[in-house]
Amino acid sequence: MFIRQIFRDMRGQKLRSALTLFGIFWGTSALILLGAFGHGIHAHQVKQFHGLGENIVIMWPGRTSMTYQGLPKGRAIYLREEDVSLLKAQIPDLGPISIEYQNWGISLKRGKVILSSQIAGVSAEYGDMRNVIADWGGRFLNETDVNLRRRVCFIGNDLKNDLFGETDAVGQVVEVNGVPFTVVGVMVKKGQDSSYSGRDEDKLFMPYTTSAMMFGHTMADVVVFKAKSLDKHNDVKDQAYKVLGKKYKFDPLDKQALWMWDTAENMEFFSSFFWGFRIFLMMISFATLIVGGIGVANIMYVVVKERSREIGLKLALGAKKGFVLVQFLLETLFITFLGGATGFMFAMGIIRMFPSFDLEEYVGIPSISNVEAIASVSLLMLIGLAAGFFPARRAASLNPVQSLKM
């Protein structure tokens, strides 16, 4: 009977109930969507940043800038294939390491398509380290490819599109300077906001052994390596200077004898930026919550104000304060819950469907943890309830005459 009356009262006031419902629905979905997109953009930024590889060191040959053991400064230092084995042998904390030979302006031919591209000769360890990952159905170069100097290659996703278009590339042949190579994998599309030698999506990767044989390299263009764990990172860098300094006779403190670019250092440098970004996101979420909360509170407040005559009348007819309040509370609860739940589902639906809109390149993939979503929705509903309940309680605490006059 009581519940029936609540529904009758709500049905009787369809427009008002619908508006309230919509307001809460809107506030809830806006809150969740904003939060989710904020997350998505953040994650996207981080991923872009790591496009080059996480916590890796990129080492170039350089020139000495200090005299050392009677040797003058200004001597060129080169890196060779055997230096990789030397570093591996001498530094126990060294993780993956790869030499990289770079070849520019190499002609590639597949069918009628001929184009000029950049080629990198690398080891099997290179792929994971540099976030060059094989797409479904393919693989990166492996040890056997390297040991047997196989004529196989791994190609960037953009290069694949230029050469093969929509057709499958794995197992197909590309001519490199007229020599046929079999494609073993295509790179998964990735974000990359920094590089030291062009974008990976445009490159062709082949075993460094094959590259050395074909193009006659003896000096590495770059050596890329990574420590086994992040806490050994700086240690490994120092050791690399020591080991190579000893071999090539330069001061281990001479940072110009070999250049090192360090994405871990960058990470540190940028972490304050990310921190700022996170605070910015938190502020946005908070502001949304406040705005949503104020919106919901306002709606409830207007509703109650509009209904205080009704409250006054019911009191005048002998309704108990508790009766009126419980009715109001249940009604508000029902509307805020329905609005919150539908808003929640609507927002989650959009988030689920988002990947099919093909926009993730720009804003990443929106995501929100259930805990976070439920917490913010609950908070919004709580605000709605409080905003509905307290004015109602005030109206119900007045004399019927006073509430009738409001």
Binding site: L315, A316, L317, G318
Partner: protein, 241 residues
């Protein structure tokens, strides 16, 4: 039925303190049909609201049906409003979204009357005020006179001993107003005590006692009453007194 002594009521509106009632003594016996008259702002509605336990006096004693009302809490006052008093407002005060049936049902719901009994009672009440074929109509679909009759049916829902009406004909044409007063007379004859505010001489004429209020006090001096009534008869409206 009603026994008021030294009733005062002050309103604090910001800095200004308005004293609407300045010590009203009023006694109304069971079975009386009394009209309250007086100029606008003289405190009639204030007095009526206090009589109906919708408001509490700032000072003074009020005994309703032998029970002192001052010491009662909100819940007990709600019970009194529900069971002992029927209130009819000038502006009808019907829930706009509810049907005539549902409006009349409200005091019965608040009085926790069982469903079947309640529904029979609503039908009976609406029949008594001549609206047996308007049960499902909403206020907007009813005339002013019909709305006021729904309000009267609602006021009578729990068989109150006392019916209070604040200008029940104030928003009605004279024809519908007369029908309402006819209904009141019928109720009075069947034993209900009625206290009614009115501006209309023809309405006041039909009650068996007139209480004249002026400046928050009941006027008792014969000369003043005579003066008031004289100008009232002249204008048919008491306000000019």
């Amino acid at each position: 039925m009603i026994k008021m002594s030294g009733i005062r009521k002050a309103y604090n509106t910001g800095r200004i303190k308005v004293e609407a009632l300045k010590g009203v003594d009023l006694e109304i016996g069971a079975g009386e049909f009394v009209s309250i008259v007086g100029p606008s702002g003289s405190g009639k509605s204030t007095l009526m609201n206090i009589a109906g336990c919708l408001d509490v006096p700032s000072d003074g004693g009020y005994e309703l049906d032998g029970e002192s009302v001052e010491k009662l809490n909100m819940s007990q006052l709600a019970d009194i409003r529900n069971k002992k008093i029927g209130f009819v407002f000038q502006a009808f005060n019907l829930l706009p979204y509810a049907t005539a049936f549902e409006n009349v049902e409200l005091p019965l719901i608040f009085g926790k009357v069982a469903t079947k009994k309640r529904q029979d009672r609503v039908v009976e009440l609406l029949g008594r005020v001549g609206l047996q074929d308007r049960l499902g109509h909403k206020p907007a679909e009813l005339s002013g006179g019909e709305m006021q009759r729904v309000a009267i049916a609602r006021a009578l829902a729990n068989n109150p001993k006392l019916l209070l009406a604040d200008e029940p004909t104030g928003n009605l044409d004279s024809q519908s107003g007369k029908a309402i007063i006819d209904l009141f007379e019928e109720l009075w004859k069947s034993g209900t005590t009625i206290l009614m505010i009115t501006h209309d001489f023809n309405v006041a004429k039909r009650t068996n006692r007139v209480v004249y209020l002026r400046d928050g006090l009941v006027v008792t001096k014969a000369a003043d009453i005579a003066q008031g009534i004289k100008s009232w008869k002249h204008d048919r409206q008491f306000d000019t007194a």
